[in-house]
């Protein structure tokens, strides 16, 4: 299809509609998603050569993509409601408040480093779903908590989730990881520092930012340096987990050394250990499932997937035949969270913290809390799937890249990555959609391929935190259901700012010819 202003706006139509009804009319995610899905179907049928077969198969394909996300959302909510029912989440909040009353330090610990650590291991929305309720329990308001945990973990998205986004970029570009790692980790390292500063700012304004500046700089050096060294030496699967863990320990020591609060802790050591138990189990199981080969090879064989035939539009755009998203039930992050939650329940039950009939209450609360979120995810993923099969997403990116020349493209490149992640909710998907396109554009314009691909994935990492699917998930865990529009407008300010900053950084690096 020819790319002009009209076709570009048509392709952007469903996203613009979604944003307008969510941000302008304050609709909830499920209603906005349903309307935008209907609009996407109409636009795809009328203008982009879609047919009944395409709509039917993309609907089925989208189910598996949605299920991949929903398994995490449902189980993360279940774990959260379990800890809330047990009262342990409040205890952690009290413990941290007793340890330090410094809001900026609380923000660094729970809003920046803890979600980054979780991102390193699991990602897929877990960092926000787990960290945001903890921040609320320490006294931050829900919107602050969501902004902090979203901004705080974004730098770790590319090398997080065992570097799945990075791997997807290597797969579609067919380039060696060692070639792309320096530029990618440099950009993300600088972004780690900026996101740390933003978290302290959101936590306690300019005073907090100023007070925690040197701590933020020190921690950033650990995160950025560790990420650079590990990813450049081929160990990208742990390039976020290890630096984030070291940074958490260093921050804990700094807080303990300063001990700004004089009040003795309100909870006993036993209570604290029990309260931290769900997270200790989660971290341990995640490491075991990801690092012990037997779990992946043996349990990973239990999978559910469907094979889809070739799908073509009447305009000649073809999606080749192939399997849909495989759901590996026994090794899925959602299964690990659920297993952690059930072990926690058994321990809490034995310790007398939870009663036997609490389990059904927790299940019922989980189902009730996840209804709107589930609909929103089904519709949003459905939109993304139709858009990618009708090449609407590609038209959006190509339009942006063609409108700008060699000097401006480095600024625009991260926005393309961010757009892909915003629509699909995933840095990996954005890399699959756009990495090859970015590489080709860089070659045509005579720009550094590693730098432009770094811009793509860094933009994707920043874009993924703004993705409605992730925001909706976060809202569900802090009780802001149907307030997604309000939250997304706040996160967009920081997210777009970070993408713009990335673009300026890429322009500067390109000007000096560092890569």
């Amino acid at each position: 299809m020819e790319i002009n202003l009209f076709t570009w706006f048509l392709a952007a139509g469903p996203i613009i509609l979604f944003l307008v009804v969510m941000l302008g009319f304050k609709w909830g995610g499920s209603r906005a998603g349903a309307l935008s899905w209907l609009a996407t179907v109409l636009v795809a049928l009328i203008f982009f050569g879609a047919n009944f077969e395409l709509i039917a198969y993309t609907y089925s394909k989208a189910f598996f993509l949605s299920l991949d996300v929903l398994l995490i959302i449902w189980t993360a909510l279940f774990l959260f409601i379990l800890t809330e029912q047990a009262g342990t989440i409040t205890k952690i909040g009290n413990w941290l408040t007793d340890l330090t009353t410094d809001k900026a330090m609380q923000g660094i610990f729970l809003g920046w480093l803890f979600p980054s650590f979780l991102q390193g291991m699991g990602g897929f929305g877990v960092p926000v779903a787990v960290a945001a309720p903890l921040l609320v329990s320490t006294g931050f308001n829900p919107i602050q908590a969501l902004v902090m945990s979203s901004v705080g973990h974004a730098w770790g998205v590319t090398f997080g989730s065992m570097a799945s986004s990075y791997q997807s970029m290597l797969a579609v570009t067919n380039l060696p990881g060692e070639l792309l790692a320096p530029a990618t980790s440099l950009l993300l390292g600088i972004l780690a520092f900026i996101s740390g500063l933003l978290v302290t700012f959101v936590a306690d304004g300019f005073k907090g930012l100023k007070r925690a500046f040197f701590t933020t700089a020190l921690i950033s050096a650990i995160l950025a340096g560790g990420q650079y060294l590990l990813s450049s030496s081929g160990l990208w699967i742990i390039a976020v987990t290890v630096p984030a863990l070291v940074a958490l320990i260093v921050t804990f020591l700094i807080i303990a050394f300063r001990k700004s609060s004089k009040t003795p802790s309100r909870i006993s050591q036993k209570d604290l250990l029990l309260s931290l138990l769900p997270y200790v189990i989660l971290v341990t199981l995640t490491l075991v499932f990801n690092l012990v080969g037997w779990f992946k090879t043996t349990l990973g064989q239990v999978k559910f997937e469907l094979f889809f035939p070739e799908i073509a539009t009447s305009l000649g755009d073809v999606t080749p035949a192939g399997p849909g998203r495989a759901i590996r039930l026994l090794t899925h992050p959602g299964s690990i969270i659920f297993l952690s939650a059930m072990i926690t329940y058994l321990v809490f039950n034995a310790a007398g913290i939870l009663k036997r009939n609490d389990l059904s209450v927790i299940f019922k609360r989980t189902v009730k809390s996840s209804i709107n979120t589930t609909i929103a995810i089904f519709t949003m993923v459905g939109i993304a799937t139709i858009m990618s099969h009708t090449k609407m997403t590609e038209i959006l990116a190509l339009g942006i890249s063609r409108a700008f020349g060699r000097s401006v493209f480095p600024l625009v490149s991260p926005f393309i990555g961010a757009l892909g992640a915003f629509i699909t909710g995933s840095n990996s998907n954005s890399n699959v959609l756009f990495a090859a396109l970015q590489m080709r554009t860089a070659e045509l314009l005579g720009l550094s391929v590693p730098l432009i691909l770094a811009a793509q994935t860094a933009g994707g990492a920043m874009g993924s935190m703004m993705a409605p699917a992730k925001v909706i998930l976060g809202c569900a865990t802090v009780g802001l259901i149907n307030k997604e529009g309000e939250v997304i407008s706040k996160i967009l300010i920081y997210g777009v700012g970070l993408v713009l900053f990335t673009g300026i950084l890429v322009m500067v690096i390109n000007r000096f010819g560092i890569f």
């Binding site: 609709w27 909830g28 499920s30 209603r31 349903a34 309307l35 899905w37 209907l38 179907v41 009944f52 077969e53 709509i55 039917a56 198969y57 609907y59 089925s60 989208a62 189910f63 598996f64 949605s66 469907l306 035939p309 209804i371 709107n372 589930t374 609909i375 089904f378 519709t379």
Partner: protein
């Protein structure tokens, strides 16, 4: 006592989720087996539930 209508936001949401879980499989197999009428009906149900969501959700 006023009788509560069945067509309300909560019920439509539940129906919509049930449809989104069951229909993808049924639709996939209908398409693979070229059962066009069944496929049209199934996708029609999806469109109607989406429309109902837009109309009934506050």
């Amino acid at each position: 006592m006023e009788k509560k209508s069945f067509i309300n936001s909560a019920n439509i949401s539940r129906i919509s989720i049930a449809a989104d879980i069951v229909i993808p499989f049924a639709l996939y197999y209908a398409m693979i087996k070229n059962s066009d009428v069944i496929a049209w009906v199934l996708l029609g149900i999806v469109v109607i539930t989406r429309l109902a969501l837009v109309i009934t959700t506050k």
